[in-house]
Symmetry: C2
Subunit: 334 residues, 2 copies
């Protein structure tokens, strides 16, 4: 691999995404992408006593599923990169504690899934191993409880708010395979434009998405039209519009081939999620389900996946802090 | 690089740790390693209004210091890996938001510093860049508030408890340099032996440290005596004794050359920290201060640094969960 431009890595022997898996909750099962998910749960608890334990079970079973689908014995998987939104990433560490695969915890808020794809690719192409696994989860109920208000309060959600996706996505990245291949990775910088509204994460993360998008295009000397689709992680309806407008101001027209996982996963009219989906599982499940299917069936041949994260917590909001954003991108081609 | 044995990476062109820096709090300044720290604070707030903001300032200034010491312009640093113990790692993301270096958030609880050394080494040797930075922080007051009880309560601490180090450590890892060099890395697995006592983290993490130690020795075909020193991250007095005993049962005598950063950083008799130090900054500051000095002056020529993490949080303890541990190791030689 080599670094090109300011922030982009070019893989000379692009690692292959050999399998993906995703499990989602009941609300996601009513959305337009339902048929692409491997498993849809009937309720938010999945037989567990708490939402946190349910989220751990979701990431655990998603990882078991991707391993089973890949046919690779877990003893042949060299590394696992995983993270989530819960304090100290307990969904991942409890869910994956019996996995018996060398584990590296990552935290990029909702950008975690793509951070995992990047680290997996670098480990595999760099020679640290042949096969790596990445996973990320989120859960509407555990996230609302932790970041906002108790669900029992029945609090009204402002129109700018997004709906944390319940679910997990996972992928296996291998030195060899038939693709789709990870050809480039652009590691994002933290971007903080001073937005303080914790109910408008899309707007807070949009400048980071734009920064990574433009850096990627300049580093690779590509136009937006190089890609069949440019997909951000969880900017939702508002953040998506912000990115389109900001990109236009910078001279990049992305109207025709840009979309966002948070826009794709829920139906705007019927599902009442306000500004769309969010959470680590938003990008994780939309990629592992819908986008991976489109790549495998060659309906999409070149995509740029830009996962976005809001690096904030409940305490920092209470202390009057703004919301730093980050976005990491991978180009995936077949 | 190549993988040797089960979990170990051998670097063919070992990356060099070209600079380190550390800042610690007032209690650490009274300990036996005070003279090795770059800066000792007079109080826990450092002019900030909250402990969280103080912790952010500590990691920010530590990173600024390591960059200044290295003489490398920050625009030439390709990646920053950082993490901490605060919910959603806000110490790192707020402290480093103006850094303008591509940022990858990591979470390994108190093993975070060594996780950063490993990822930096793999990025640099793999060809993703020439120079990488890693950092980790913790703060006694923000950690007590978040994980245990409000400090104002004046709660009694049980004898097995450890004292979270206030401070941060940071290192710059480069493709070229005069060493010390990172020659091997062993990525740990999550190990959960069912210990539930959140006031005895040393015992909870000791089995993970042992697992990584023995795996490393077997993978590299080395005896403990290969190293001038084997140093764990923050097992403290109790965890250290557990590791010595468990290692002996497995046929490895480490009594003569093994110690722990949590034992080294505070004076057992005079400082009343019970079982010793803990936190991301324990291993981070003891390595960046004391151990790096010993390596540069060749008083130690070969060390194995094994940072340990307890992958737990306040909610999981309340829900009756046990404490999964993890440990990552790097061998550092000059």
């Amino acid at each position: 691999m080599q670094k090109i431009g300011k922030q982009t890595i070019q893989f000379n022997c692009p690692p292959s995404i050999t399998s993906t898996a995703c499990i989602v909750g009941p609300k996601e099962a009513q959305g337009p992408l339902a048929k692409y998910f491997d498993k849809c749960l009937e309720d938010e608890f999945w037989g567990e006593k708490t939402w946190e334990k349910a989220e751990s079970k979701i990431i655990k079973e998603t990882v078991n599923m991707v391993i089973a689908k890949s046919g690779v014995p877990s003893s042949n998987i060299d590394y696992c990169f995983a993270g989530d939104l819960l304090n100290q990433c307990i969904s991942s560490s409890f869910g994956l504690r019996d996995l018996n695969i060398p584990f590296l915890g990552i935290f990029g808020a909702c950008s975690t899934f793509v951070e995992g794809l990047i680290l997996s690719s670098i480990f595999v192409e760099g020679g640290a191993g042949n096969t790596s696994l990445c996973a990320a989860s989120s859960h509407f109920c555990s996230a609302e409880k932790q970041f906002r208000f108790p669900l029992e309060l029945g609090n009204q959600r402002p129109p700018t708010s997004q709906w944390t996706v319940t679910g997990a996505g996972s992928a296996i990245i291998s030195k060899t395979g038939n693709g789709p291949f990870i050809t480039n990775a652009t590691v994002g910088k933290i971007v903080d434009m001073g937005i303080k509204d914790a109910n408008n994460m899309g707007a807070a993360m949009a400048p980071a998405a734009l920064d990574t998008l433009i850096t990627h295009l300049k580093d690779t000397n590509r136009k937006p039209s190089y890609y069949d689709a440019i997909i951000t992680g969880d900017l939702g309806h508002i953040g998506k519009e912000v990115v389109i407008e900001l990109a236009e101001k910078e001279g990049f027209n992305i109207r025709s081939n840009y979309n966002d996982c948070g826009v794709l996963i829920f139906d705007k009219e019927s599902q009442d999620t306000h500004s769309g989906g969010s959470g680590c599982a938003c990008c994780g499940s939309v990629f592992s389900g819908y986008l991976y299917d489109q790549l495998k069936s060659k309906k999409l041949k070149k995509i740029l996946l830009i996962a976005t994260g809001a690096l904030t917590n409940a305490t920092s909001s209470q202390q009057g802090e703004s919301i730093p954003g980050i976005a990491h991108a991978v180009s995936i081609e077949i």
